[in-house]
Symmetry: C2
Subunit: 155 residues, 2 copies
Amino acid sequence: MCKSIMEKAIEQADKTMSQGIGGPFGAAIVDKDNNIYVASNSVLDSHDATAHAEINAIRKASKALNTHDLSGCVLYTTCYPCPMCMSAAIWANIDKIIYGCSAKDAAEIGFRDDFIYTFIQNNCDNENIVELKQQDREKTLALFKKYKEKENIIY
Amino acid sequence: MCKSIMEKAIEQADKTMSQGIGGPFGAAIVDKDNNIYVASNSVLDSHDATAHAEINAIRKASKALNTHDLSGCVLYTTCYPCPMCMSAAIWANIDKIIYGCSAKDAAEIGFRDDFIYTFIQNNCDNENIVELKQQDREKTLALFKKYKEKENIIY
């Protein structure tokens, strides 16, 4: 029987989880021509905290399609995306996200993504999570001014 | 005169911005041994919507240090991080983020990261930004159960 897109994502996650490559998370992107790009979490193997399944799928699809703009694409993911992956999908202009397990389901097996959602919802104001400090604004602002002049954009 | 870490990030961003590689954003990570990993936005050149300066710096430092755990590292960034980069820094266990320009400064040159913050702060409930739909929970939950059994974890 032909596998559904979600089943392909599950299968990939199952494989890499068993190999110790990453956690039990898979994703697949379907583009406008029905091409499917399947990926899974590879944080442990690639030593890259950003290598979540959804990010890996976005990178794979972008590389294949030769664009950072994934408008018209649908992202399937075995679990509700964390804020990093949610934001990445939005930056990539993905239209729709179809997810399997909920954030609560993930928490029940030890993945507590919700603390980052809570941090953001509280205006990123919790030094126990990460300390934020502004510095050198004038120097960095000069770069922005240069960009604005270069692009000749009026906002 | 010796350049500050923020100046190194600015210099790198200036260079790649001028080459059309990406927007006017640079970042640098300083590890516990004072090694510095500098990167900049390469979204346009790499065709990867996730290739923000902070994400690129995290990947660079992780690769050099051979770990996804950047505890004890400080992230310098020319601009207040977007939610994707903020979350990535938290996943990587970065302790402190030092930023130059504010989100408002970025908005003034056309980069409106704040809509993703607003989306998350409104519980990701805005189909105009991205539509979210749950599907196949039972199938994906089986993967989580398998992980739990494999890891023999009790939560």
